[in-house]
């Protein structure tokens, strides 16, 4: 009914390679994007700064990580450290008088440079070993940042982000920060959507599926893995800069701890490995489930006068967080993106179910 799909789906290669072949999907994407762009007009501060802004930023970060985990099949447990490098580099550059646009790129390059050093060490091994090497990276970067006062910013270990301009617009208040995050998020999303249609994306898919088979057909495994690491770390660095400038506004080492890395990995898993849409879903679920759940339990125990011990109540989000990861891995390893695809498949030919392929 909505999709009005039947019979021949495309008549040229060009049409087949479209990102969204169906008019309904195109309209939906346009609608969501328009809603996002117009959000500051109809949303209050709470939802803009408390929900939408972190959602955009975390989704962008999850996209960067998903490029590595879903695209190239490499696990990374130190993505928070990658973002920290980007955040600190760009903030220090901005404070030294470099324009924000350049500082962001600088942050990305620094993250990529340091990330690839660990990547090169780690990519000689696989699976668990890679996980461990990136975990080690997380701890080492944390330590260096918090123990070099020149980086962390003196006794209080907090650096204020100065007021900056992005593309000529001063980044103050909720609207400007939101648009800056949205702009970066859009660019990264477009890159991710298109990456899989390029030779790079196909080479990475080959490496992910079976690395020695890829090598046999002439895809340099190490080279492409390193490239994936580089790109992913670059995106991580840029997102780190966005996070610092738009959201945190004053950065300290503990904001980029192992919890952030785990959170991002969970977003990728729950959202769906390799899925662009999934990164957005995963970020929303992991970021907001604890908050919403806390509010729901709070109002339930208020209305029905349930006596839930505060210890239990406070720990429910953590349990749920773990249970979500376990649940998705067991029952829907392809994540929320797959659930969405299932719903979409259901409606694709609805109500003519018999017409399904």
């Amino acid at each position: 009914m909505f999709y009005r799909r039947a019979g021949i789906r495309h008549t040229s290669y060009r049409a087949e390679r479209q990102l969204w072949p169906l008019p309904f999907d195109r309209a939906l994407v346009a609608l969501v994007f328009a809603l996002l762009v117009l959000a500051p007009l109809y949303l209050g501060d709470l939802y803009l700064a408390g929900y939408l802004l972190p959602w955009i930023i975390w989704s962008t970060a999850a996209l960067g990580l998903n490029f590595l985990m879903g695209g190239a099949g490499q696990i990374h447990l130190g993505y928070g450290a990658v973002m920290a490098i980007g955040a600190y580099t760009s903030v220090h550059l901005v404070r030294a008088g470099v324009p924000l646009e350049v500082a962001m790129i600088g942050g990305g390059l620094a993250s990529a440079a340091i990330g690839i050093m660990f990547g090169a060490a780690a990519l000689r091994v696989k699976g668990l070993y890679l996980a461990m090497a990136t975990l080690a990276m997380q701890y080492i970067v944390d330590f260096v940042i918090s123990h070099v006062p020149a980086i962390s910013g003196g006794t209080q270990a907090t650096i204020q982000v100065p007021t900056v301009r992005f593309l000529g617009v001063p980044i103050v208040g909720n609207t400007a920060t939101y648009y800056m995050a949205l702009a970066v998020g859009t660019v990264v999303t477009l890159f991710m959507l298109n990456a899989r249609r390029t030779s790079l994306g196909r080479a990475l898919a080959a490496v992910r599926e079976k690395d020695y088979a890829a090598e046999v057909i002439g895809v340099g495994t190490l080279r492409y893995k390193l490239l994936a690491f580089w790109i992913s770390s670059f995106i991580g660095g840029v997102v780190g800069a966005v996070l610092a400038v738009c959201y945190l506004r004053s950065i300290s080492p503990d904001q980029f701890h192992i919890e952030l890395s785990i959170q991002l990995v969970a977003m990728v898993i729950v959202g769906g490995l390799g899925s662009v849409l999934g990164s957005f879903f995963g970020a929303a679920l992991i970021l907001f489930a604890p908050i919403v759940l806390n509010n729901v339990i709070g109002s339930l125990s208020d209305t029905f006068a349930l006596s839930i011990s505060s210890d239990l109540r406070a720990h429910v989000p953590l349990m749920l967080y773990g249970a979500l990861i376990i649940g998705f891995l067991l029952w829907e390893p392809l994540g929320l993106a797959k659930i969405y695809a299932n719903v979409r498949d259901y409606f694709l030919v609805w109500p003519f179910r018999h017409a399904r392929r």
Partner: protein, 295 residues
């Protein structure tokens, strides 16, 4: 240079390293049979300590009985984890299984403090507090007993690996299909490995719980244990023993020698650097078999 201090640090470090090695032994047990890294080992140790505390204080059982009960319960918990979660992951990429154990880690870290309360609990297994003096050297009694018990449990698990059951487990780790075809019950071997891993985790959870108190931070044992398991070679129990000593002494000496230079606590960094160096120089660890694929 104060050699006495260095000696003291080395001895205490070695003992603490043995206590860490016990957690690592559980990781190795599971890896050896199922080829799977268990990132929930620290949280399982925490669970064992919580259960022991709950049985001892909640039911008022004497400590020895509480420990025995907790060990039995945790063996079942280990079996259940394998049966309900990990077995369903057969055939999935290893990254998925790693994430599953990580999810388990997070969930347990929420569940146990949520149910039993987040405040630090005292777990007194009757180790006296007063220090032991060996000449001029002071040896911490809690770590002394802990290290000895840990080494003992690791030795026992080595013996298990030489028993009939252990032969099954090793066969399974070599080739699951081949073991199947000669009539070894692969699932059961893996399940027993999980049960034993949970038991060793509980022992270490109790030992650590009695030295530091029981709370969520027990799950942090994981990082040290992973460093030890990787240095030792992931599938070697004697490797764990040696690597535990190395990591413990290295950490302890680093705290004594490097900390004053950099003005910060370097303990966790030592573990990270050890992981990185091992991966760079000898990825299969000191005693591991060379079957890790390099690309």
């Amino acid at each position: 240079m104060d050699y006495l201090l260095l000696g003291e640090l080395a001895i205490n470090g070695a003992l603490v390293g043995l206590m860490y090695a016990l957690v690592a032994a559980g990781i190795v047990l599971v890896y050896k049979t199922s080829g799977l890294a268990n990132l929930a080992q620290g949280a399982i140790a925490m669970m064992g300590a919580y259960l022991t505390w709950a049985v001892a204080t909640g039911l008022g059982a004497p400590m020895a009985l509480a420990i025995v009960l907790a060990l039995a319960m945790m063996f079942v918990v280990g079996l259940l984890i394998e049966r309900l979660a990990l077995r369903r992951m057969a055939g999935q990429p290893v990254i998925m299984a790693i994430m599953l154990t990580l999810g388990l880690e997070i969930m347990l870290r929420g569940l146990l403090p949520g149910v039993f309360g987040a405040a630090v609990k005292r777990l007194d297994v009757g180790i006296p507090q007063a220090p032991v003096f060996v000449g001029e050297l002071l040896v911490n009694r809690a770590t002394l007993y802990g290290g000895i018990i840990s080494a003992g449990v690791i030795l026992v698990s080595m013996l298990i690996f030489n028993s009939r059951l252990g032969v099954f487990m090793r066969a399974v780790s070599d080739d699951q299909t081949a073991s199947w075809s000669v009539g070894i019950r692969v699932e059961r071997a893996i399940a027993v490995a999980w049960g034993l891993a949970a038991v060793t985790a509980t022992v270490s959870g109790i030992l650590w719980g009695s030295t530091q108190g029981v709370d969520w931070s027990l799950s942090l044992l994981l990082i040290k244990a992973l460093a030890i398991a990787i240095l030792g070679g992931l599938d070697s129990i004697p490797g764990v023993l040696i690597a535990g000593l190395i990591v413990g002494v290295a950490e302890s000496l680093a705290t004594g020698l490097i900390d004053p230079l950099v003005g910060g606590g370097t303990r966790d960094i030592v573990a990270s650097v050890i992981i990185l160096l091992t991966l760079l120089i000898k990825p299969h660890g000191l005693f591991g078999r060379e079957h890790i694929e390099r690309v």
